[in-house]
């Protein structure tokens, strides 16, 4: 997993509420057995007509947002299916940070496993980011994970919260599985106790 420390980039505004993972990556792209290559199908049904032509006013098709690295989104982003294809598609497109007032749990988790930082802000602060995003490529947001701050184009700083363990993994690009395998002794000990307490499991 790629490390996440600091990111400065164009933010694309998507104020719609309840953007679900079916919208982020429709089911026909879940037939892949790989993690890569999904960026071109990110938001596929909102982004292209059925015959594959770009829909000009969809935000990521507009010239100023084609290279967006951040999404600023409406409430409850990433609800619905657990498909990790959603963060894979965002990542493959080049988006490494999503800012919203709330995220669905599974999507939120999935982001951290893929080097994407989801940031939860109160509504008024999210709206400030949204305003900035609406300025297009004239405005760049900076996200600093170490100091947990977002800097808007006018220099305003907004702090955000992040779980210390997830922050540590993201900043160092750590693989969860490796970390857990280091606790092998604890797992084996648990299995021994559980086998006596609940032998039927």
């Amino acid at each position: 997993m790629e490390k996440f420390t600091r990111l400065t980039g164009i933010a694309a505004p998507m104020p719609l509420v309840n953007i679900d993972t079916d919208m982020i990556i429709p089911k026909q792209f879940l037939k892949t057995i790989k993690r890569t290559g999904l960026g071109k199908n990110l938001f596929d049904e909102m982004r292209y007509t059925p015959d594959g032509a770009e829909i000009a006013d969809f935000v990521l098709n507009r010239p100023q947002y084609r290279h967006a690295g951040i999404l600023v989104a409406g409430d409850n982003f990433g609800c619905g299916s657990s498909r990790e294809h959603a963060p894979w598609a965002l990542l493959d497109f080049g988006i490494r940070c999503v800012i919203s007032t709330s995220f669905a749990d599974i999507f939120y988790n999935n982001c951290f496993k893929n080097g994407i930082l989801p940031i939860v802000l109160p509504e008024d602060q999210r709206d400030l980011c949204m305003k900035d995003a609406e300025k297009g490529s004239n405005a760049r947001l900076s996200v600093d994970l170490e100091s947990q701050t977002i800097t808007l184009s006018d220099g305003t700083e907004i702090g955000f919260e992040v779980d210390p363990f997830r922050k540590h993994c993201l900043m160092n690009g750590l693989d969860d599985i490796g970390l857990t395998m280091a606790k092998e002794a604890a797992i084996t000990a648990y299995e021994k106790v559980a086998a006596t307490a609940r032998p039927w499991v």
Binding site: N18, K31, I33, P50, D75, S81, R83, A104, F165, D176
Partner: protein, 468 residues
């Protein structure tokens, strides 16, 4: 100090390691896998030279991609789908997962129907699957939730999951349900009440008389859609009905193990003085048969209602409702019962069980689908299908003009050929009415099996109480 909730108790019994920084390592008793969200996880194991830690606790079944037409015994025509199913076959072989129900095994079906049916899902367990509707298994008092593919790999390799503890939410449904109202109406009404983000960060425990009086199938329907309310998981404390359902199933404990298990299971309930971070109470008598009108499961109204005006909402929901109505091809003020449908889809892990089949057949018996309606019945597993045939239910559906299909996810998400065409309007017993979910441009109205049957027979959204 206050008492513990059922969630707290299951959590405590599965804690392997508590990290001072707030993340815990939780042991996983059952890991269910299917073909769509597992290939990349196995690929990850191969690349790192890792094995599956507990193949005996891993259960695999293909369901999302499989065709539901009788010709599937000859193989899957769509190449990508075929590859995904073959890759699951191969991974099960390579990693020693012998609890495998291949496509043409009679026990094959939707993973969340197969788990309980085979007795894999038991009270007090932790159950995960790379699928958000894993919440279904919470009906047994098991802590069950969906995970992403990276987490699937983590569980395969370590049989544990890194978790932050969720908050506790109580959803109480008091009193009794009125005739024509079923588990699906409960779960949709709760989401209508709390919104799709209402449960974010929480594990819901459903309780109250109306929940107690549901069958195990009904309880699975309720918990299945906990995720649609944003909750991490949904739980119902096990009781005599639970134990009776589990007893005698293939992988349920036997003999002395059964007695020991039962003794523990009987302790699995929330203490009277447990602390709840959030409480929602709904009177059972206030729940009507409902349908969805929009493209979010929270867009729920009693069937007696009218399509709402987007301007009547607040904030970001105004724009979302406008977009929904445009997508659904509906005008504000239209009576819901005036909405004509093209298709009925009866199936999915929400409503593909034998009880659902029985309730629906009772409405359909002696009636026919409206001439312009296409109807599909897709049992949730091969065993549900077999039982429905033995009970004569299949014939009731066939006589009414429905197609009687083989088991799988089918048109719940249309990864196989079962899809809606653009603009096609469907009365569906599934769980998601998202844009494009059942086929690009397809229009989904969610409802209970009996309501879907009423819609099929009349040819428009309809109040099943008028057919009873």
């Amino acid at each position: 100090m206050s008492g513990k909730t059922l969630y707290d108790k299951i959590w405590d019994a599965h804690l392997v390691h508590d990290d001072p920084e707030g993340s815990s390592l939780i042991y996983i008793d059952r890991h269910l896998i299917h073909e769509v969200t597992s290939p990349q996880a196995f690929e990850g194991l191969r690349m790192a030279g890792r094995s599956v830690r507990a193949p005996d606790k891993t259960i695999a079944v293909p369901d999302h991609n499989v065709p539901t037409t009788p010709d599937r015994a000859e193989g899957i025509e769509n190449e990508e789908s075929r590859i995904q199913v073959e890759v699951l076959d191969q991974n099960a072989r390579d990693f020693g997962i012998t609890n495998y129900y291949p496509m043409n095994d009679v026990r094959q079906g939707i993973v969340h129907i197969v788990g309980p049916e085979q007795g894999w899902t038991l009270p007090g367990m932790t159950v995960v699957c790379g699928d958000s509707h894993t919440a279904t298994h919470g009906a047994f008092g098991a802590l069950a939730h969906g995970i992403g593919t990276s987490e699937v790999e983590h569980v395969l390799a370590t049989q544990t999951l890194i978790q932050q503890k969720s908050k506790n939410m109580k959803v109480e449904i008091t009193g009794n349900l009125t005739p024509g109202v079923s588990a699906k109406d409960i779960t949709l009404s709760v989401i209508g009440h709390t919104g799709t983000a209402g449960g974010n960060g929480h594990v819901i425990e459903y309780m109250g008389e109306a929940i107690r009086s549901l069958t195990m199938e009904g309880r699975m329907t309720v918990c299945n859609m906990a995720i649609e309310g944003g909750a991490r998981a949904g739980l119902i404390a096990p009781d005599e009905k639970t134990f009776a359902y589990v007893k005698g199933r293939k992988h349920a404990p036997k003999g002395a193990d059964w007695d020991a298990a039962l003794a523990w299971w009987q302790t699995l309930k929330s203490d009277d003085d447990a602390h709840w971070d959030k409480v929602v109470t709904i009177r059972g008598e206030d729940i009507a048969p409902v349908v969805t009108w929009g493209t979010s499961p929270e867009d729920v109204l009693p069937i007696t209602g009218v399509v709402p005006d987007p301007e009547s909402f607040e904030g970001g929901k105004v724009e979302a409702a406008r977009r929904s109505l445009a997508y659904m091809g509906l005008e504000p003020g239209t009576k819901l019962t005036d909405i004509r449908i093209d298709t009925v889809f009866f199936g999915s892990c929400t409503n593909g069980r034998i009880e659902d089949m029985r309730a629906a057949a009772a409405v359909v018996k002696g009636r026919k689908l409206a001439p312009w309606v296409r109807g599909m019945v897709v049992p949730g597993s091969g065993l549900v299908r077999k039982q429905a045939e033995e009970e004569g239910l299949a014939q009731v559906f066939i006589d009414a003009g429905f197609e009687w299909r083989l088991a799988g996810c089918s048109m719940c998400l249309g990864m196989n050929p079962d899809q809606l065409a653009p603009g096609e309007r469907c009365a569906s017993t599934s769980n998601r009415n998202f844009e494009g979910r059942q086929g690009r441009g397809g229009r989904t109205h969610l409802m209970s099996p009996v309501m879907a049957m009423a819609a099929g027979i009349t040819g428009h959204l309809a109040d099943v109480r008028e057919l009873m």
